[in-house]
């Protein structure tokens, strides 16, 4: 058999031109899953039969002279908080175990309409709350680069699936860094689009003013391809921006000549591992060498991002997760009265971190504390947006680490919630502002594990962001290149 293409761009081109079949491509990826999934645990559910039927349908369309679309025959993994009609969607929580949604998420429909082949539902921290997948009710996902280490989270399964070669692309969700941080820790590309660019219809809600769906891939071009396919207005999401998907693949070769890129000083100091900071400075130098102007910029209010986020996100979560009451779907633990049944169900169904966040949010919203906590956090959100706006008067893009460290080991942080939350200091500010940001692999840290650098852009600045990402990708040192 001829060498099969590996990236989504190559696979779609080869399938559309009839050089390979979607079934051949799928079989190669199912073989990769068979070989290593037992060790990695990227999936809550592998959809081998459904994927074979979908791939055969793509091949039948090709044979009939149809074009199945820009993702023709491309295997794709879906985070298990994206609703798939009739297919279990668990959010890695006992409370939704066995639930089969009565509808598809908009992104699920869009990737299928573009010809992609869904190979499975990926593991996550329960309800996307966490930074390591250790909070999954179904056991953690392991980092394919070193299985003693976490893949990051909450979309750890989607990141690991791509890093392990189980699928060239996957979808995750990012509320405070849940796409970008695992992308960085697994050494792949991960994108959080502008809030409202991708429909959230059918994404099980965590924090509705922050959640956004986005792509993982091994190459910048593959993320561009997938984002183009899922972005664009959806009347089923009232927060969806009313405009067409951006053109991203077309701009990737435009370079960074003339772009002004700011290194955020607040995200380069305390708490950032020296080897990670060094890689980010090397990335800044690479962008400068490619023709960009690079300077340092202060975005002072980002220092308050973590505190504001861990009040706002739990507050929204406590409201969103009130729906899990044992009445309409999922788990029910029987008790004599409805109120007792509600409490028994929630107590048995939710894991520790979800309970922590629900209680934190309930507290921040409760009488007597609302103004001091939730109200203050919303005002800090205004300050962060103002400070970003000021920075973007002088810079087209901002640069920082994605995560303060490379992938840590299992158990290191899981019993100390605050130290786990500190993983998100670099990624949270853009969620609060609603801006796009992405993580691009840029060599290894001192321990040989991948480092991700984060590019941030103003709202709807994806095209510029992807140009710089392509330049970084071209300049990135290999993982094998020793840390200097």
């Amino acid at each position: 058999m001829a060498e099969l293409p590996t990236t989504a761009v190559e696979i779609a081109a080869a399938v559309r031109s009839g050089q390979v079949t979607a079934v051949e491509v799928l079989d190669a990826h199912l073989a990769a899953i068979d070989a290593r999934e037992g060790e990695i645990n990227a999936f809550n559910l592998v959809l081998a039969d459904e994927a074979r039927a979908a791939a055969a349908a793509v091949d039948a369309r090709i044979a009939a002279g149809d074009d199945p679309g820009p993702l023709a025959g491309v295997p794709l993994a879906l985070k298990d908080n994206l609703c798939t009609r009739g297919v279990p969607t668990t959010c890695s929580s006992r409370i939704l175990e066995g639930w089969r949604p009565p509808y598809d998420a908009t992104v699920v429909q869009r990737v299928a309409a573009a010809g992609a082949v869904a190979v499975g539902k990926t593991n996550l921290d329960e309800f996307a709350m966490g930074s390591s997948t250790e909070n999954s009710a179904f056991g953690p996902t392991r980092n394919p680069r070193d299985t003693a280490r976490v893949p990051g989270g909450s979309s750890g399964g989607s990141a690991a699936a791509v890093a392990a070669g189980f699928a060239p692309i996957s979808l995750g969700s990012d509320t405070g860094g849940s796409i970008r941080q695992p992308a960085a820790l697994c050494g792949v590309v991960g994108v959080k689009p502008t809030y409202g660019l991708v429909s959230r219809y059918g994404l099980v809600a965590f924090a509705s003013s922050l959640d956004q769906i986005g792509p993982f891939s091994t190459t910048v071009a593959d993320s561009a391809l997938l984002l183009e396919a899922v972005a664009g207005h959806d009347p089923l999401d009232s927060t969806s921006i009313d405009q067409a998907a951006p053109s991203l693949l077309d701009v990737l070769d435009r370079g960074v000549e003339g772009l002004r890129i700011g290194l955020v000083t607040e995200l380069m100091g305390e708490g950032i591992a020296p080897d990670v900071a060094a890689r980010v400075r090397q990335a800044a130098a690479a962008l400068e060498a490619a023709g960009a102007t690079v300077g340092e910029v202060s975005v002072p209010a980002t220092s308050y991002g973590l505190s504001a986020y861990y009040l706002i996100a739990p507050a929204e979560a406590s409201s969103n997760l009130a729906r899990y009451d044992g009445v309409r779907y999922g788990l029910r633990v029987d008790a004599p009265t409805t109120a007792e049944m509600n409490a028994a169900t929630r107590t048995a169904g939710f894991g520790d971190e979800v309970k922590r966040r629900i209680m934190l949010g309930t507290y921040a919203l409760s009488a007597g504390y609302y103004d001091a906590y939730y109200g203050k956090a919303l005002k800090v959100r205004t300050l962060i947006m103002r400070d970003f706006e000021a920075a973007y008067e002088h810079f087209d893009l901002l640069l920082s680490p994605t995560s303060p460290t490379t992938a840590f080991r299992f158990g290191e942080k899981v019993d100390d919630p605050l130290s786990m939350y500190l993983n998100d200091i670099c990624t949270i500010p853009t969620n609060l502002a609603g801006h796009p940001a992405m993580s691009v692999p840029f060599g290894a840290g001192a321990d040989g594990m991948p480092v991700g650098v984060q590019l941030m852009a103003p709202a709807l600045g994806e095209a510029t962001m992807f140009r710089a990402a392509a330049s970084l990708e071209a300049a990135a040192p290999s993982l094998e290149e020793a840390f200097a």
């Binding site: 009232s238 999922g330 409805t338 049944m341 109200g375 203050k376 205004t382």
Partner: protein, 100 residues
């Protein structure tokens, strides 16, 4: 030990959130949630009287559509996922005679 959060506070929010905690869990959560709230003291201490709040990143106004019936999810499919159903409705245990 946090200055901002007591064991009684945690017991109260657990009840509000319909979660049952053991004594050991109460101790653990009081400490863990207290640490997060202590970290948030930097925000609570800011003087932001003149700053308007932002609840949402987009300047959204009401989104309206024409009042036309479109596709909806299938009732039987929805009910098939419920823990208990009777007469095509969700069935729950007694709700009368409970404390409010």
């Amino acid at each position: 030990m946090s200055e901002s959060l007591t064991r009684d506070d945690v017991a109260k929010v657990a009840h509000l959130a319909r979660l049952e905690l053991t004594d050991a869990e109460l101790d653990t959560y009081t400490e863990q949630l207290g640490a997060v709230l202590d970290h948030a003291a930097d925000v609570a201490a800011l003087d932001l009287a003149d700053v308007p709040p932002t609840a949402h990143p987009l300047p959204l106004v009401n989104v309206l559509r024409d009042d036309v019936i479109g596709p909806t999810v299938d009732r039987e499919e929805v009910l098939s996922q419920a823990p208990a159903v009777e007469d095509r409705r969700f069935r729950v245990p007694a709700i009368l005679g409970e404390e409010p």
